[in-house]
Subunit: 183 residues, 2 copies
Amino acid sequence: MAIDVRTICLGLLSRGSATGYEIKKSFEEGPIGYFLEASFGAIYPALGRLTEEGLVGLKVEQQDGKPDRKVYSLTARGHAAFEESLRVDPGPDRFRSEFLFLLLFADHIPKDHLRHLIDERLADYRCKLRLLEEPSIPMPNSPGLEFIRGQGIAFYRAIIDYIEHNRHLLEAQDARVPAHAAE
Amino acid sequence: MAIDVRTICLGLLSRGSATGYEIKKSFEEGPIGYFLEASFGAIYPALGRLTEEGLVGLKVEQQDGKPDRKVYSLTARGHAAFEESLRVDPGPDRFRSEFLFLLLFADHIPKDHLRHLIDERLADYRCKLRLLEEPSIPMPNSPGLEFIRGQGIAFYRAIIDYIEHNRHLLEAQDARVPAHAAE
DNA sequence: GGTTGCATGTAAATGGTTACATGATTGT
DNA sequence: ACAATCATGTAACCATTTACATGCAACC
């Protein structure tokens, strides 16, 4: 069994209790979002199953108009199960990029559109970098979390830097769809 | 429609004809493997569907013991379809790492195992970096491909460098499962 | 008056992976 | 003798995403 949403929930809950909503938020806001993600449609069922299995317990907090807040936390068995799951050897890291796929065919893309594409992606990366650099929500700092945050910063900086210094390779001549002229 | 295996096949075939097997190989060997991937179980059906749709044609080359080599290439309509698919705006890049997930809980992992884990991952990254640095199979160099290769190199270098210089943060004290003592 | 944030959940659709099946040849 | 490379394909299984459903409060 690899590291699925269920295991991720187990892991995050091992740091403290949380609701499904908060787990989702931690992907979006915290420094773990750059290498982990899950949708509500995956989180809620995972939490449900974990409860059935007795690995997490929940405390329901009633609220006015909003649905009840279901605060989950690990049981003793949950902690054990998580500790066990830390033994699996981690699968390969994977980076997927539709953006780079497009750049592969930069010579088929009009110059101005290409520039726009790169500018946007760059803005996107800079935004994510900023999010990591200023940890607005100072998480309980474990050494792991600090390490991860640093790697994220290094990662985004490297890519931004590379794109800034090499985009001219793509934007140089307007190679506007010269290919397959003989089709 | 996002960039699925079908679109990837279309794109790769736009650079020249190939068999399903060769397409798969190009992920493993070439400089595109670090941000694209597909299994045989996805490639062959995609190629089949593309043929049905008249976007690719195939030339069957008979062979002795082996199955026939089916060499696919884009039709005029295939080229048009691909050109069209270059207009979609690329979804976000995604990096997924089970390794970093584990490191998040480095304080729950025995020091020696942790060191082993990091050493392995580092070796893995160095291997991929080498693959990019020496382009043993010199692909038809488009500006896009050179750019992508460079980004891959920058990417791996940054990560390797970061891990080498910061692993001590994780390996410092032996924080061997001190957590949840009060459970 | 519309969007965002809070908060939970379900069900269908998707787009894959994994495992299997086949088989000759070459290398270790 | 065993693994790997070449080469194609099918089918079951799978985890997730996407879209939907609901609804209040606060902000703009």
